[in-house]
């Protein structure tokens, strides 16, 4: 009797403990709940990491691959076939709008890929904005065909050997698995668009309700194949203003605050909120348009690099909350070359400017209005630094869409941006420094070097990470020597976490990962 009472008491205590929701303040609303149609980081936090699982996943807090919905994967000898062995016992969410009759199998994986890959799929018409990331990450170019081998095996036919496949298969936009059964149900009902508002996934959380631009509620998926969530409800409170996020955390309305601004962190001193910082897969850089007069001269570009004071830039623009960058690859990216250094040498820079034959022509720095840093201040610092080495620049502020268009067309001399990679060094180099990137408009340096392209191609075709690291080491040194761009900073990212929350760990992908998180 005593034992039963104790057990009941314990159960009640556990139930009470589990009843508390994990409340998270994020800066924006998700675009929708069909992650494949989206492209935003907040949608990854709210949907990609909660409602859906991917075929491959990352070990928590690292860039190391671990099995996800594919429990094993093997490559054919010619590197053109990737066979995925699916995890058995994976349950789709049971919701008021869908009751699954079976567990996940190869049909679901084939369906998930086909709706993005097949131009004739009825789902293409549903995604009116297209599957942007399927094309944007290069997944569409990589895969020739997707085949079901048996109920629990899928084979991907690749167009050419592609070492990026693991990264692409861990990407939330490309590799989240949808229920083919639910897809068929929606098509049959003539309401396929509901996939974007009534999602069904296999992830650790089940969609419960969404009040537009206000609150998203998810509940724990009790049949989850992995370690079950340690709390019943996840509540995402959309709080656009960074200062208000601070106040909500201090008042205990939110237990986790995402994407906190460095300048607001002082507000947490002496409170129950602690800040976790992370140097993510992100690099700030200055792109030098190598097709412009003077900037086509390597000596002139080297001079701009040597004459740029990163220490004062970090202090003035980032309030000291960033690390100086020497390589385009950030420290959290495997193959990052630690041996590269970033020198500030005004005298040598002046000598190089003179040697380049620069005649005092004024160069234009394009920068955006708004954004994560004060663009005007940043550009004016560059202007002041380069004035010291005798180079004249003028600052041209413009709206983001305008800047994308004009820099894409190569109308700028200089511009500066941040680039976020997806876990593979190629995701930094290929879009920003390849010849193909010039025509696509996102190589803002407009630098096309055949030897560099060949190096990237060799690295992409090689499945051995050790050998790829060596090749990317060469690539980093080539960029440091040729200076098509100047890596400026590795910005720090901040997540505020109430001490009540246990086990939260910042991710190098700067997203929110709720695996292993618990509440007392």
């Amino acid at each position: 009797m005593k034992r039963t009472g104790l057990a009941l008491g314990l159960t009640a205590c556990l139930a009470a403990a589990r009843a508390a929701p994990l409340t998270v303040c994020t800066e924006a609303a998700p675009d929708g709940f069909d992650i494949a149609q989206s492209e935003s980081a907040v949608t990854v936090d709210a949907v990609g990491n909660t409602i859906f699982d991917q075929l491959l996943m990352y070990k928590r807090g690292t860039t190391e691959f671990v099995p996800g919905l594919a429990r094993a994967w093997r490559l054919s000898a010619d590197g053109l076939q990737l066979t995925l062995e699916l995890r058995p016992g994976v349950k789709f969410h049971r919701t008021p709008w869908f009751t699954p009759t079976r567990e996940m199998n190869a049909d679901d994986v084939v369906f998930s890929f086909q709706r993005m890959a097949d131009a004739k799929s009825p789902w293409q018409a549903v995604a009116k904005g297209g599957f942007l990331m399927w094309h944007g990450t290069g997944m569409g170019d990589a895969i020739k065909a997707v085949e079901k081998v048996d109920a629990m095996t899928v084979r991907l036919q690749l167009k050419q050997p592609n070492a990026l496949m693991q990264t692409l298969l861990a990407n939330q936009f490309n590799s989240s698995v949808y229920s083919a059964e639910y897809g068929a149900q929606l098509l049959k009902a003539g309401k396929p668009e509901l996939i974007n508002t009534q999602p069904v996934g296999t992830g650790p959380f089940v969609f419960k309700s969404y009040q537009k631009d206000a609150v998203l509620r998810l509940s724990a998926h009790l049949g989850y194949w992995g370690s079950k969530p340690q709390f019943d409800q996840l509540v995402v409170a959309i709080t656009p203003d960074a200062n208000v996020r601070v106040q909500r955390l201090k008042a205990g309305e939110c237990l986790i605050g995402a994407n906190m601004r460095g300048e607001t962190l002082g507000g947490f001193d002496g409170t129950a909120v602690k800040v976790q910082s992370e140097v993510g897969l992100l690099t700030g850089y200055i792109a030098l348009n190598t097709q412009r007069k003077f900037l086509s001269d390597k000596r002139f570009r080297q001079a701009l690099s040597l004459g740029f004071n990163k220490a004062s830039y970090i202090q003035s623009v980032y309030g000291g909350r960033a690390l100086p960058a020497a390589s385009f690859l950030p420290p959290s990216q495997w193959s990052h070359d630690k041996t590269l250094d970033s020198r500030y040498d005004v005298e040598q820079a002046q000598a190089l400017v003179k040697a380049s034959g620069y005649d005092g022509t004024e160069l234009a720095i394009f920068t955006r209005i708004g954004g994560s840093i004060d663009g005007r201040r940043a550009a004016e610092l560059m202007q002041a630094d380069w004035a010291r080495i005798g180079v004249k620049v003028r600052v041209q502020m413009m709206e983001w869409g305008e800047m994308l268009r004009r820099t894409g067309a190569g109308e700028h001399d200089i511009t500066f941006l941040n680039w976020a990679g997806d876990g593979d060094p190629d995701s930094f180099f290929n879009p920003n420094l390849s010849c193909e990137g010039v025509s696509a408009g996102n190589n803002k340096s407009r630098w096309c070097n055949k030897a560099f392209d060949a190096l990237l191609a060799r690295a992409r075709a090689n499945y051995d990470q050790g050998q790829r690291s060596l090749l990317y080491g060469q690539a980093q040194r080539m960029v440091a020597e040729e200076v098509p761009l100047i890596p400026t900073v590795y910005p720090q990212y901040f997540t505020a976490v109430n001490q009540k929350v246990r086990g939260f760990r910042s991710s190098p992908f700067v997203d929110l990962d709720f695996r292993g998180v618990s509440l007392p």
Partner: protein, 342 residues
């Protein structure tokens, strides 16, 4: 009266076309298209780009796009958001009640406090009270909304938790996160009441206090100053002197005889403020994480979400046109001279 109605209605049609043209051309004048903005710095495959533009109908000539937009708008089809792929009407209807709820409470606060402050200042003209009330109203009028909102949050939500926790107000949102209230009307106060959940209504009410004060501060200052000057004029009138001479109580003289007459210009101003409150709540919505129409439109402009911008502006402007039409008709009904004026 019918011909007057037809005349007013005749004016509405060109106004409506003008608004559609303005909303369409302004958003298309901003450089960059939605696909480009969505892709950001990422690689945009030219074939995919062209195909997406075609799917969104953005590869057609502008006049054709405008024609399609106008034709669909006449059939009440405003299209769907490029970003969320949800219907513009559906998104608007989800957010508009929040904006109306906030604007109504802010106006209620501004009217009640503003009238009282204006009357007090008028009857105590030249005293410290008068100068104090007018000084405060001028400060309120000049206050930056963002600063004022944060100041209130820091004091009433955060510091108050240590001083008097029972009186602490929530930082932001429409209701405490533990309440999952199903939207029936979209008005959180009503939905919370209908839900029957213990504490839900109180929570919704407490979440309205600070945003209403912040949004209502500027209108309050306007109403207080307008009431004061109007009251001062009325208090000098003969009929007020007569009322006093009759021996009526000062309260009756002020609130029944003077205020009623002083209210005419004040009510006109309050009417004008309704439009301002509905359209100008963007900052308040941002500070208090209030999911309203203002922030929705601003976000849509940033992302070049053409259907949302065009549709949102069209609905908001149509509402203003309809209200104005009703007011015009009301004036015409009240005052026949307006009806017959050439």
């Amino acid at each position: 009266m019918f011909s007057f109605f037809l005349k007013r209605l005749g004016l509405v049609i060109p106004t409506f076309i003008g608004i559609t043209l303005l909303a369409f051309s302004l958003i298309h004048l901003i450089p960059g298209d939605p696909v480009q903005v969505m892709a950001g710095e990422r690689r945009l495959d030219p074939a995919f780009y062209a195909e997406t533009l075609h799917r969104l109908g953005l590869d057609r000539p502008l006049y054709e796009q405008y024609g399609i937009y106008l034709w669909k708008a006449l059939q009440l089809d405003l299209g769907e958001s490029f970003v969320t792929h949800e219907g513009v009407w559906s998104e608007f209807l989800k957010l508009f009640p929040a904006t109306v709820e906030l604007a109504f409470c802010a106006l209620l606060f501004a009217t009640v406090v503003g009238l009282l402050a204006g009357v007090l200042a008028a009857i105590k003209r030249g005293t410290i009270l008068d100068h104090g009330v007018m000084g405060i109203s001028l400060t309120g009028f000049s206050m930056p909304i963002f600063w004022w909102g944060l100041l209130l949050i820091m004091f009433f939500s955060v510091a108050m938790r240590d001083i008097a926790p029972d009186f602490a107000l929530p930082v932001s949102g429409r209701i405490a996160l533990e309440f999952d209230i199903a939207p029936r009307t979209g008005f959180m106060l009503i939905d919370a009441w209908l839900s029957g959940e213990a504490g839900a209504f109180k929570s919704a009410l407490s979440h309205l206090v600070m945003p209403s004060i912040v949004l209502g501060t500027v209108p309050l200052a306007v109403i207080a100053r307008m009431t004061r000057s109007s009251m001062l004029e009325v208090l000098r009138e003969d009929y007020v002197r007569t009322a006093r001479a009759k021996g009526l109580s000062p309260a009756r003289v002020v609130f029944v005889h003077a205020l009623r007459n002083a209210l005419v210009p004040v009510v006109t101003v309050i009417g004008l403020l309704v439009g301002t409150l509905l359209g100008g709540a963007v900052l308040t919505e941002t500070i208090f994480s209030w999911p309203g129409v203002g922030k929705w439109l601003i976000d849509a402009i940033g992302r070049r979400d053409y259907p949302v911008v065009q549709g949102g502006i069209l609905i908001s402007a149509t509402l203003v046109i309809v209200v104005n039409l009703l007011v015009d008709l009301l004036y015409g009904w009240i005052n026949p001279r307006i009806r017959h004026a050439k």
